[in-house]
């Protein structure tokens, strides 16, 4: 599977899809008919980034289970790489979400369920990295990180659900464009962006994994020669 598509090809594919998605969003998809108007264009990037972030954390969750079952450091590396990338994408979600919020509600920050959940997700996975840095022994670090990654991923949907208990606040209801309400031209533009973002994630995971593997090998070699 590893040699199926080379890493540069994945990056190129991601780049093409992302640029195509951008062009389609502005040139092909119509301006949104609702009150969102032109600012709705950010949807074509914001939502794919958000879904990619969740996919990254999902892979980290699977990797954590894989590690606990096999104790193979390969899974630990995958978990770490996915959490780091997921965190990066989550920060982008927050930034694009805030820009959208400014355009849609006139404020940079609103305690809206999705935005709030992503804020907590950021804190959760920063805590994951802090936890890793607090354990020196490799096997123990990997085990604790795996346990925490499992708990954290379970907590994400629960948090999102809980934020629904909060009072709704002043801002208008957020678009629920995903699913049924999308025109086909919008859907196509969205899917192209989505594909591009997913390819980008896969490409980044593969590159980061290779870097992590090399780092581990260097550490092993250093250890062998007593450095």
């Amino acid at each position: 599977m590893k040699q199926l598509v080379s890493a540069p090809a994945l990056f190129v594919g991601a780049g093409i899809c992302l640029i195509a998605g951008l062009l389609l969003a502005f040139l092909y998809a119509p301006v949104d008919a609702s009150s969102m108007g032109f600012s709705q264009k950010i949807f074509f990037y914001h939502v794919p980034i958000a879904e990619t972030a969740l996919v990254a954390f999902g892979i980290a969750f699977v990797a954590a289970i894989g590690y606990l079952r096999t104790q193979n450091p390969k899974w630990d590396r995958l978990g770490l790489v996915c959490v780091r990338l997921g965190l990066l994408f989550s920060l982008l979600v927050m930034v694009t979400g805030m820009i959208w919020g400014k355009a849609a509600w006139g404020v940079w920050w609103a305690w809206e369920p999705r935005l709030t959940t992503f804020l907590l997700v950021c804190f959760l996975y920063i805590a994951y990295l802090v936890l890793r840095s607090a354990v020196e022994e490799e096997q123990r670090r990997a085990t604790y990180a795996a346990v925490f990654a499992i708990i954290a991923f379970i907590d994400v949907p629960i948090t999102f659900f809980a934020t629904r208990f909060l009072p709704e606040g002043l801002h208008p209801v957020v678009i629920t464009a995903g699913g049924t309400g999308m025109e086909s031209s919008m859907l196509i533009s969205f899917l192209v962006s989505m594909l591009g973002m997913t390819l980008l994630l896969v490409a980044l995971i593969r590159r980061d994994l290779a870097v992590e593997e090399l780092q581990d090998r260097v550490a092993d070699l250093k250890h062998t020669i007593g450095g």
Partner: protein, 227 residues
């Protein structure tokens, strides 16, 4: 068999605490002090109505108090190397988790027996005697969630380099759902009075949270406590 082991560990924790009372006394003092601090922090003008802050104040206090207790409960085990002895016993790790959780729950309940009446005297203007049963249910369910998740995470953090510094960072983002549901329910009871009907969604949510994290801890505690 399991029950006897459970009772033995629980009894050990209770006896140790009741002999020194270190943890309980500091937790109770912390909770009472927090209320006084809240009073000064929130009373911005004459006769300001704090009713809608009461649930939040109560749960923030309990969660922070529990952080103190959780750090203590494992610091002793670790410093005196009691945990090594405990792990050498032929006891299922999950029994240790359940007993530790039950111990922490009992301590939290003892704190609350003192703190809730004082809190009511200080801050709650409406009588909520009619809602006492729903209140107790919410209290117990939220406590179970806090203690189960807290015990699991304290087990992890005690084995890391930064121990008591790490626990809040990994515990607080995960406990937010409980905070949201418990705060909402408690505020409703204190401010408006709501029977089980009005609280049903939150009570079920807390019940679900407890169930999910007890199962998650059940599956991962072996790894969290180490060999």
């Amino acid at each position: 068999m399991g029950l006897r082991q459970f009772m033995a560990i629980l009894r050990k924790d209770l006896i140790r605490e009741l002999r020194t009372r270190e943890m309980l006394i500091s937790m109770i003092l912390f909770v009472l002090l927090a209320m006084v601090i809240f009073h000064y922090a929130f009373t911005v003008k004459e006769g300001a109505d704090l009713t809608y802050f009461t649930g939040g104040m109560l749960w923030v206090t309990f969660i922070f108090a529990m952080l103190l207790g959780l750090n203590r409960s494992f610091a002793q085990e670790k410093d005196e190397r009691c945990l090594d002895g405990l792990l050498l016993c032929p006891v299922d790790r999950v029994i240790i988790f359940l007993a530790k959780t039950a111990g922490n729950l009992i301590f939290l309940l003892i704190i609350q027996v003192v703190a809730v009446p004082v809190f009511t005297l200080f801050f709650v203007e409406r009588s909520y005697v009619g809602d006492l049963l729903p209140f107790l249910v919410v209290l117990l369910l939220a406590d179970v969630g806090i203690c189960a998740l807290g015990t699991l995470l304290a087990t992890i953090s005690m084995n890391t380099r930064s121990r008591d510094l790490l626990l809040p960072i990994i515990f607080l983002p995960l406990i937010v759902p409980v905070l949201i549901a418990a705060t909402g329910a408690t505020t409703l009871i204190f401010a408006e009075g709501a029977g089980f009907g009005g609280l049903l969604a939150r009570v079920l949510f807390l019940l679900g949270f407890d169930a999910v994290f007890i199962v998650a801890a059940y599956g991962t505690y072996d790894f969290a406590i180490g060999e």
